[in-house]
């Protein structure tokens, strides 16, 4: 039925523009917008599309992020397709509503442009905002480059609004390194996107808040109903893993691009040593892997595209039997020595057939994950594979920390 189409348009655009174009192509009913660096360009683009008539939607220029999330939540529960975007402190300011959206199972789609949070106010890249909101009950996906931002926004609608899922989805991408990155993007046609999303119209209708109908939402579930709702939520998150893999396949059929679903593997067939990463760092890691491969080092990359639910089965399958694995975190896990993603993968260590694990922390507050840093991480993971003594946690750009840990 679906074959790759040749009606797309090649343009050089930023990651933020890719997010806005992705949202526009999904034909949202209601968009709420509030600016914050480095997300602002997303809502500027959407406002411009709205002003020129390219985007036919209700645009709510709210007075704060909290209202952005609250208004799209209500519009979603009323039956609309919605979109919003934020970053860092903005995401934190809407956090009560972020939780409420998840609890209400409202299929909200948003992008979050990763920026340092919380604590010191830093206008810089970092995934701490994602970590600080990870237990909200949302589906989290992470994009590496501008093309993937656009593609993940489209996939997010398929996932969020799937009748078997009905959960909000947040697409994360790195501030500065992706948000402001101008690069070549293949922009699909409106017709092909309509076709890709059309399956959502053939589903049973979800519950909606309609005037005059005897239906309440946001009920106080104090006794048994609460546990039932929570368990259904958790089950839907579990189902979303396989669904994301399936959507990736259908995306391939429609647009000719595939990313591997929950995780993407790069040079993994014979890899003895693996770096696990997410987001923009993966592009840099791939280029360093090519150089290391030329030097005969069997190194590969496992890129997390889905972070919540945690793709543990795919991770175990991919890492099982490798000699050593270095997990790169662009954030901290306060109260733990290792990075957050490292700590979570560590929980499955006994199922990994003896693969040894180490944690690398880098890229926080715009400290650049340079090619030299990546090479260093690969070398240390190779040392671990060779049985040498390697510290469990390394702050790659801050060697002073490593003496104390």
């Amino acid at each position: 039925m679906t074959t790759p189409r040749n009606d797309s348009q090649i343009k050089v655009i930023t990651g933020n523009a890719a997010a806005a174009i992705g949202a526009k192509l999904a034909r949202p009913d209601v968009v709420a917008a509030y600016p914050i660096t480095p997300q602002t360009e997303v809502i500027e683009q959407l406002s411009l599309f709205h002003a020129t008539g390219e985007l036919d939607c209700e645009l709510i220029t709210v007075e704060g992020e909290n209202s952005a999330m609250n208004s799209v939540m209500a519009a979603s529960l009323a039956g609309g397709r919605v979109f919003t975007a934020s970053s860092s402190w903005g995401l934190v300011f809407m956090y009560d509503a972020v939780l409420a959206v998840a609890g209400a199972r409202a299929p909200v789609v948003m992008v979050n442009v990763n920026r340092e949070t919380p604590g010191i106010i830093a206008v810089s890249c970092g995934q701490q905002d994602m970590i600080s909101t990870r237990d909200s009950g949302w589906i989290f996906t992470i994009a590496e480059n501008c093309q993937e931002v656009l593609d993940q926004v489209l996939m997010a609608y398929r996932l969020a609004e799937d009748y078997d899922i009905q959960l909000p989805v947040m697409v994360h991408y790195d501030g500065f390194y992706v948000s402001y990155l101008s690069e070549v993007v293949d922009i699909p046609s409106q017709e092909s996107v309509d076709q890709f999303l059309s399956i959502l119209k053939t589903q049973p209708e979800r519950t909606k808040l309609v005037p005059g109908q005897k239906l309440g939402c946001g009920s106080h579930g104090i006794l048994g109903g609460y546990l039932e709702l929570r368990h259904k939520h958790v089950s839907a998150m579990e189902r979303s893993k396989a669904k994301f893999d399936q959507i990736d396949q259908e995306f391939m059929d429609q647009f000719g691009r595939s990313y591997g679903g929950q995780v993407e593997e790069y040079c993994m067939e014979d890899a003895e040593v693996v770096l696990v990463g997410s987001g923009s760092m993966c592009g840099t890691i791939k280029s360093v892997i090519d150089e290391k491969r030329e030097a005969g080092i069997k190194v590969g990359l496992l890129k997390l595209r889905m972070y919540r639910p945690f793709p543990s089965e795919r991770i175990i399958e991919s890492l099982k039997g490798r000699k050593a694995v270095g997990v790169v975190d662009r954030s901290l896990n306060f109260g733990f020595k290792g990075g957050p993603i490292y700590t979570e993968i560590k929980a499955f260590e006994t199922q990994m057939g003896g693969a040894k694990l180490v944690s690398f922390i880098d890229g926080i507050a715009n400290t650049d994950i340079t090619k030299a840093n990546v090479a260093n991480m690969i070398d240390m993971t190779c040392d671990l594979a060779a049985g040498k003594d390697v510290p469990e946690v390394t702050w790659v750009s801050y060697p002073e920390a490593n003496e104390g840990v």
Binding site: I10, V12, N145, Y177, Y180, E183, V184, T284
Partner: protein, 182 residues
């Protein structure tokens, strides 16, 4: 792949220069990737941007420490050490300056292009924003790309009379840049 580092200040169009060039490479079937680094967004603050131009997809998402080309939009930074940091042998520099020649020298620098981009911009668009003049001059200095795709790329960033005026800027940048071999 060529790596280019842009130095300027907020309001000079540093980011737009890097975007226009990435866009131009995209238009000839090649790959360009550029991004800026800055703190709070405001006029006058130092801005650095990075551009990678290649015939293969650009995957690196990291700042540029060993540029092949440095582009200086803000003449007050022309002697700054930070500008020359990590410049590779055979390196080139494009400088926006009202002085047609320059005494700048660096071990790895083989070619300098100097152009009074502010003056041209003032004449053509009435504002001292040098970005499109610099984009044109970049094509001439480096020879990495023709002026055609550079002027076509402007279409994505300007409209109407501003577009035509900036196209003149880019062409004048290409034609009038003073290239000095060292």
């Amino acid at each position: 792949m060529s790596e280019v580092r842009f130095h300027g200040r907020g309001g000079q169009g540093v980011v737009t220069t890097s975007k226009i060039l990435a866009n131009a490479f995209g238009r000839i079937g090649q790959f360009g990737a550029s991004f800026p680094m800055f703190g709070f967004e405001r006029r006058g603050a130092p801005v650095t941007a990075f551009g990678r131009f290649s015939d293969k997809p650009v995957r690196e998402k990291t700042q540029i420490y060993n540029p092949d080309v440095i582009v200086v939009l803000d003449p007050s930074q022309k002697s700054s050490e930070a500008v020359f940091n990590g410049l590779l042998p055979g390196g080139m520099m494009l400088l926006n300056d009202s002085e047609p020649t320059t005494d700048i020298s660096h071990d790895n620098l083989v070619k300098i292009g100097v152009i009074d981009a502010n003056k041209i911009a003032l004449e053509e668009i009435g504002l001292p924003i040098p970005n499109t003049v610099i984009a044109g001059a970049f094509a001439k200095l480096t020879g990495m790309i023709d002026i055609g795709p550079v002027t076509q790329a402007l279409d994505d960033y300007f409209q109407g009379s501003k577009l035509s005026a900036n196209m003149v800027c880019a062409k004048r940048g290409f034609d009038e840049v003073n290239i000095i071999d060292l």
